[in-house]
Amino acid sequence: MKSGFLAKNPSVLWFLLILAVFTLGVTFLSHAYGPGAISTSMVKTLGKTLCLCLIAIAMDLVWGYTGILSLGHFAFFGLGGYMIGMWLMYERTRDIVLKSAGEFPMTPQEVNDAIGTQIFGVVGGSDLPAIWTFAGNLPMQLLFVVLVPGLLALIFGWLAFRSRVTGVYLSILTQAMTLALSLYLFQNESGLRGNNGLSGLQNIPGVSAGQDHLSIWFLWASALALGLGYIAASLIVSGKFGSVIRGIRDDEARVRFLGYSVEGYKLFVFTLTAVIAAIAGALYYPQAGIINPGEMAPIASIYLAVWVAIGGRGRLYGAVMGAAFVSIVSSWFTGGRVPDLPLGFYTIDWVDWWQVLLGLAFVLVTLFAPKGLSGLIDLFEGIRRPNRHGAPLGLDKGSFREEEAQE
């Protein structure tokens, strides 16, 4: 029995439909193309959320499907942001320098020096470091968005997988990598402005349109990237490749004994998801306007795992739901828009207590609802799982895990 890709993945059409409706809805309610019911900052928040959904898909691929709990994908996200940020900052500074120079032409050396002083004045430097060599070259920097995190993931993954580091050890190792990277970027010597990070990224050089329009364009770009990412991820997990990586998740040794190159599969997924994360980052930070090493701290990657877990691992739409839900609820709570809860003896200020709530909710989800929010969809569709306490599922369903089977 052969059936098409869409028939096997009904969620893709639904997902694309919802995404399209959402994007159009936001567009026609925005300041730029409609009555302005949704403020520009809200549009930016929504656009950023779409980018977070994209990295959540990457995380779901690597964790939910392949079983590698990577605590380093936010580092790739940040690196992607830095790569595009370098171009944005360089070009913008160059425009400023040229504008302020007057009519007497500057030598290329003078232009470079002026840009260096402008950008690195805050950290007490004036020279452009070597890593900024291609900063004025958009195609090169776009290539770096993919290449730098991809290569880092490739080298790190190769080192880690070939020495058979698995499970929690791998998680700790990826966390250490993230910590090392963020500590490195915190130094002024790293040539990326230390803890000041890169700023002013919301201005796109050579584009005269205002933020109202820019934010909508970025929303479109983010939605497009998310849609393509979703389709790509669905393609990966639905075929034979998907079966192999799920096999690796469930029992690595068996897959290896069946003759598959487990390390190769893992490395591919790890690197690919790193690239997806980097692309998401490159779309995210122009909307955020600023990037600094604090964004890449290990805690961010753990939050990423939290989103995916709350949304539901092992399903692409689950990851998207988790990221969207948690980041929007989180910005709602931390924005101070939730009324305080007076208890008589103590008033709960949600700005302070949100993290406690999130932490506890996370524990509860892990303990009692491993399927996360996407379990709600099962409930809605009336899909129930057989509760066999780990007993075999029977001949025809023998390859399924309990939570994948349907009653």
């Binding site: 079983g67 709990l69 007057g102 009519e103 007497f104 032409p105 500057m106 030598t107 290329p108 050396q109 003078e110 790190f156 080192l159 880690a160 070939r162 020495s163 058979r164 580091v165 499970g167 929690v168 050890y169 998680s171 700790i172 190792l173 966390q175 250490a176 990598m177 910590l179 090392a180 990277l181 500590l183 490195y184 915190f186 130094q187 010597e189 290990p298 805690i299 753990i302 795992a305 939290v306 877990a309 302070d352 207590w353 949100w354 993290q355 406690v356 709530l357 999130l358 932490g359 506890l360 909710a361 996370f362 524990v363 892990t366 303990l367 491993p370």
Partner: protein, 660 residues
């Protein structure tokens, strides 16, 4: 006869100032005392010189006064302070003090009051600064042989701080009679230091320098450093003076700097800089042309030079030296570092001594670094030992371990709020922190972890959820600012071996605490029933259960034990680091690294891991001292690579104990 005896007294005083007073008691000197009355006689003899002192003739007078016995130092002090007056009626000297329109007089020899005198009758003696300096030297001699050891020390400190060439003689003279061996050693050391600076010839100074060998004292280095200080100078011909090093422009000093030196020495004209040239060009733009070239061409540096040369030829701007001309000027001159000290022998000896010293200092710094690394290692070990139980033995990954450390530190802080005595409060805080974190650990195990023993990745996530909740909870309760946890007074200060090596007592205490916990862990795991049962449950829970062990209870206790140790580590760490809600975060990654690098399941592995990480971090910090962030970065990179070669850590468990 009297003159002879005085002369004898002077000679004695010069040679043996310390003995001078003793000599007064000797039988043959008794006659002198009764007949000539020491100082009084000297004052009478030299009345004229004392009243109108001049630098040229005062030398013998001061010596006579200094050697005159009782009252001499008092008189010299008063003389130097301009408090000596001459009573014109009888020509006698008194120490005077102005009070209203009169002077209060006191006897210069005995110091007793001698009535008053009207202003007109007293002529104040006012020695000039040259004379006062001579008197000062004589006074130093007195202070250095003062019977009171405290005064002698004060004099030594004063000379040490502000030594002069004139101090050298009296200091040397005072050494043989010094009764206190400690002060004598100080005097001898100071004498050698002063000799280095003011010795009469190079030979003597070099000998003094060499006598120190590779002494580590800061005073020795402080004496040598001015000798080898250099100034950078430019010469038209060969360098003059005591040359430390001749400098080749381009190699030893940048060409620009060399040229700037020429300019400041008025040997070359100031160059017109690139920006001045640009301004000059910008000021001469005519019809879109500069010096015959189009404005747009000015983006090219070579074209700018060309345009400027055209303008200069037309006389519109001052001519500018070309790079080649400037380089030729620099090449025509010699540049050298010149020692401030003119004597090459002395500077050579000083350089050699400094090299010796710095070699010893480097050795000592290695020792110091080793101590630092050891104390850092014991901190990591303390932070990681609890983890060695929960993660190493039970295989439960507890991301909230850092928060248990914080919890312990806050317990210490709260105890100190109620118990003001620091020693007592620490003694209360240690067991209390253990109890509280033990309870927290047990609660966490019962409520969360026991459901997740089969799902280690989810344990990681769930405990991480607890970690962020706890962290925010601490923030809500204790605020974001750092809270003090004060160590008891007997832990303050440092154990100092010499000027280089020192280690604070608190770090020693942490080292000892780490050793105690190592012993405690070994005892619990190897000698107690609990340890036996923990090991049994770790290796095979179902077999252990069938032998009558309750695995649930054992897991709970073991987890509580590991958490409790984290609490105690928190108190210890809080004593020297600031207590904030995020302090646990700073240690959690390092702690996991320590356990993983060391080898999971082995306490000695954890010890080795902590030592490795401590030594590594301090070593990297030493290579790049300004940047502790870089040290951590490189250390983590090293660990990632290390795990490539020993994926199971330094001490890998083998056989059945290794589990899977």
């Amino acid at each position: 006869m009297r003159k002879f005896l005085i002369a004898l007294g002077i000679v004695l005083a010069l040679a043996l100032p310390g003995l001078a007073q003793d000599a007064g008691d000797a039988p043959q000197a008794e006659a002198t005392q009764s007949e000539a009355t020491g100082l009084r006689a000297v004052l009478q003899d030299y009345a004229k010189q004392i009243a109108k002192p001049s630098r040229r003739t005062i030398g013998p007078v001061i010596e006579a006064v200094a050697g005159s016995g009782e009252g001499a130092s008092r008189f010299l002090q008063a003389w130097s302070d301009k408090r000596v007056g001459l009573r014109e009626s009888d020509g006698a000297f008194f120490i005077v003090k102005k009070s209203g329109s009169e002077y209060e007089l006191s006897d210069p020899v005995t110091g007793e009051p001698a009535g008053t005198a009207p202003k007109s009758d007293i002529k104040e003696v006012k020695p000039n600064s040259g004379v006062r300096a001579e008197i000062g030297v004589a006074l130093v001699r007195f202070l250095l042989s003062d019977p009171d050891p405290k005064k002698r020390r004060e004099a030594l400190t004063a000379i040490d701080r502000n030594g002069e060439a004139s101090h050298l003689e009296p200091l040397r003279a005072s050494i043989p009679d010094e009764p206190d061996p400690a002060i004598k050693a100080e005097k001898q050391r100071l004498e050698r230091l002063l000799t280095i600076r003011f010795g009469k010839d190079a030979e003597e100074r070099v000998a003094a320098i060499d006598s120190f060998g590779a002494d580590l004292g800061l005073d020795f280095r402080a004496t040598l450093n001015p000798l080898v200080a250099t100034t950078r100078k430019v010469f038209e011909g060969a360098p003059e003076g005591n040359v430390a090093e001749t400098l080749k422009p381009g190699r030893d000093i940048p060409e620009d700097e060399a040229y700037a030196m020429l300019v400041s020495a008025d040997l070359a004209p100031a160059r017109i800089s690139a920006s001045e040239m640009q301004q000059a060009l910008a000021a001469h733009v005519e019809n879109g042309q500069v010096g015959g070239l189009p404005l747009a061409a000015m983006a090219d540096p070579a074209k700018r030079e060309e345009a400027y040369a055209t303008l200069a030829a037309a006389g519109e701007v001052p001519t500018r030296l070309t790079d080649a001309e400037a380089a030729a000027l620099v090449a025509d001159h010699q540049f050298a570092d010149i020692y401030a000290e003119p004597d090459p022998e002395v500077t050579a000896a000083a350089e050699a001594a400094l090299t010796r010293v710095s070699r010893t200092v480097a050795g000592m710094q290695t020792v110091d670094l080793g101590l630092d690394a050891l104390s850092l290692a014991s901190i990591y070990f303390l932070a990681a030992i609890g983890l060695a139980i929960t993660f190493g033995v039970m295989g439960v990954i507890n991301m909230a371990h850092g928060e248990f450390i914080t919890m312990g530190a806050y317990t210490g802080y709260v105890v100190q709020l109620f118990v003001p005595d620091y020693t007592l409060s620490i003694l209360i805080a240690l067991p209390l922190a253990f109890a509280i974190t033990f309870g927290a650990g047990v609660a966490m195990e019962r409520l969360v972890i026991r459901y997740l023993y089969k799902r280690p990745l989810e344990t990681l996530l769930a405990t991480f959820g607890i970690s962020i909740a706890l962290q925010q909870l601490f923030k809500n309760i204790f605020g974001t600012q750092a809270r003090p946890l004060t160590s008891p007074p007997w832990l303050e200060g440092a154990w100092t071996l010499n000027d280089v090596v020192s280690i604070s007592y608190i770090r020693i205490a942490i080292f000892v605490l780490a050793l105690i916990f190592l012993a405690l862990y070994l005892w619990v795991m190897r000698k107690t029933r609990l340890g036996l049962e923990v090991r049994a449950v770790t290796q095979n829970p179902s077999m252990a259960a069938s032998m009558g062990i309750n695995p649930d209870r054992i897991n709970m206790l073991a987890f509580g034990f590991g958490s409790g140790i984290a609490g105690i580590a928190g108190v210890a760490i809080g004593l020297f680091a600031k207590v904030t809600s995020e302090m646990g975060q700073d240690y959690i990654v390092q702690s996991f690294m320590t356990v993983v690098v060391g080898g999971v399941g082995s306490i000695f592995g954890t010890l080795a891991g902590a030592t490795l990480i401590g030594v590594l971090q301090k070593g990297i910090e030493w290579l790049n001292p300004s940047n502790t962030l870089a040290a951590q970065t490189y250390m983590i990179l090293f660990i990632i690579i290390f795990i490539q070669f020993r994926p199971r850590g330094i001490i890998a468990l083998k056989g059945r104990a290794a589990g899977d």
